[in-house]
């Protein structure tokens, strides 16, 4: 198993690759949230799709007066991931299979750039 940690100022994501099957875990304070899993390529491409702010996907969905893009659905925990641009970066919002909110976290623009580099490196390493 190989994993990477995507660090933000108040939380971090851990992506655990088990022979191509990638589990996503979110750590916030003392809380660990298992978000679910998909293939490594799918997980990376879904996260990369929201880290490039100028090419941010269309904000189609309203949640509590804010417009979001739904960027990922994960197997196993049946979690939906939403994102929207903010003044300082992006906001990530996850909901469970019953459409109940699980957690909301924020990324700065610098963190977005770092995540993008890390994810691209991790993706290319799996192709070598």
């Amino acid at each position: 198993m190989v994993s990477i940690q995507l660090i933000a100022h108040d939380f971090h994501l851990q992506l655990v690759d088990n022979r191509g099957w990638c589990s996503v875990l979110l750590f916030l304070n003392n809380r660990t949230v298992e978000l679910g899993a998909d293939s490594k390529e799918v997980v990376i491409s879904r996260f990369l799709s929201i880290l490039d702010i100028p090419r941010f996907p269309e904000l189609k969905f309203a949640i509590e007066d804010c417009q979001y893009a739904c960027f990922i659905l994960l197997f196993e925990k049946h979690t939906f991931g939403y994102a929207r641009p903010t003044n300082s970066g992006i906001e990530l919002h996850f909901r469970n299979e019953l459409n109940e909110p699980i957690i909301t976290v924020n990324l700065t623009l610098e963190e977005c750039e770092l995540w993008k580099i890390q994810l691209n490196q991790w993706l290319s390493s799996s192709h070598e």
Partner: protein, 404 residues
């Protein structure tokens, strides 16, 4: 043995079975069956076999047969039949002197027809001499009445016993197996596999290896049931014996599950066809799904995603872009309905579905999983033509019947 690029092989196998029954009222009967088969370079020599049997009734009903003891003597189990039963288990049975000699080489890729009989084509779906597949009585009934089990061949008894199995099953397994035994292709494969299994069992070393594999794959209970089924079918002399054999097969089906049995038989059927035609085992045709078809089933640590990447189509996580205020299962059902409305297929992978009976009956630890709810929704709507035509089920990349 290989010499100058030419392989040769020969061998022989024999079996000897002694069984007896003693009733509380003192009646008893016994039987001995021995058989020997020999082959050389993939060709079987005429087999030899002999059956001896006898019975004893202390009431002197006149039904006693063969070599009877005097009235009041101990039951046969305590005293072997006079002059016919070997005093111990190592005495060579008649008639060949070489029956105890171990084969030099076990196998040389035997050709199916030479091994399993002329003209039989069970593994290919019954295109050859298929009178057994189409006539469980083997013609012995003369067009009416009950068949004489004692005159049936092993293959005929296999088929007759298997056809009794649905009557012993209940619920979903009964319905699934009933449909299967009415499918000539399935029945042909089942008989071919049973026949091959029985033939291999008789070969020293190979039989034990197969038993070990069965234990590993199916577990002890299923392996024992399968072995008992074949033995009882082989020895069956009447309908009660066939029922007892069918009961063992029922136990086997219940232990391994109908779906696993279907997939295994399809694979074994392909293997036997390849032996018969001397061709290498062909790969199953790769699954190809339409680009907008849905691929459903448990995610199973990535195996569903691998199937989608191999065969095409979309998983639910690719097809749904938003909950839109719905729960996951509602989004799943809506996505299925939309796909069917648009003429797309739903390919449901059952390979990694655990406790299918519990799921379908809404019981057990998997009853509330998303996959369980999806399966039950499909079953509830199975009477709709678009659902029946649009949903396909698979186990190990082989299309199978619906699990109900």
């Amino acid at each position: 043995m290989t010499k100058g690029g030419v392989s040769t092989s020969n061998g022989s196998s024999w079996s000897w079975t002694r069984s007896a029954t003693v009733w509380d009222d003192g009646r008893n009967n016994w039987s001995e069956i021995w058989s020997k088969s020999s082959w050389k370079d993939g060709k079987y020599a005429p087999s030899e076999s002999e059956v001896t049997r006898g019975s004893f009734d202390p009431k002197g009903t006149g039904t006693e047969t063969n070599n009877l003891p005097k009235f009041g003597e101990a039951p046969r189990l305590n005293k072997g039949p006079k002059g016919e039963v070997p005093p111990d288990l190592v005495k060579p049975p008649k008639p060949s002197d070489d029956i105890w000699r171990l084969p030099t080489v076990i196998f040389k890729e035997p050709k199916f027809k030479e091994v399993f009989g002329s003209g039989s084509d069970y593994a290919a779906g019954g295109s050859g001499n298929d009178d057994v597949a189409n006539n469980p009585s083997g013609g012995s009934g003369g067009g009416g009445g009950k068949p004489d089990v004692s005159k049936m061949s092993f293959i005929q008894k296999l088929k007759a016993a298997i056809q009794l199995v649905p009557g012993l099953l209940v619920g979903d397994a009964k319905a699934a197996f009933e449909r299967l035994v009415n499918d000539p292709q399935f029945l042909a494969e089942l008989i071919a596999v049973g026949l091959a299994f029985a033939a291999l069992q008789a070969i020293p070393g190979v039989g034990q290896a197969i038993d070990a594999i069965l234990l590993l794959v199916f577990g002890a209970s299923a392996a024992v049931s399968l072995g008992n089924f074949l033995l009882k079918t082989w020895q069956a002399k009447n309908e009660q014996d066939l029922s007892a054999a069918a009961n063992e097969f029922k136990n086997f089906v219940e232990a391994v599950g109908v779906l696993t049995l279907i997939a295994g038989l399809k694979l074994a059927g392909r293997l036997l066809r390849s032996i018969r035609t001397d061709r290498p085992l062909p790969s199953p045709p790769p699954l190809r799904f339409g680009s907008n078809d849905l691929v459903y089933g448990p995610s199973a640590a990535g195996r569903l995603r691998q199937l989608q990447q191999r065969a095409g189509g979309k998983t639910l996580t690719d097809a749904v872009s938003d909950l839109g205020g719905r729960t996951w299962i509602q989004a799943s059902i809506d996505t299925m309905e939309e796909a069917l409305r648009n003429g797309h297929k739903i390919h449901f992978d059952l390979t990694n579905v655990e406790d299918i009976h519990g799921i379908l009956n809404n019981t057990g630890r998997f009853a509330n999983t998303v996959t369980a709810q999806e399966l039950r929704y499909i079953r509830q709507n199975w009477s709709r033509a678009e659902v029946k035509n649009g949903v396909k089920f698979y186990v190990n990349d082989v299309e199978v019947s619906p699990p109900w």
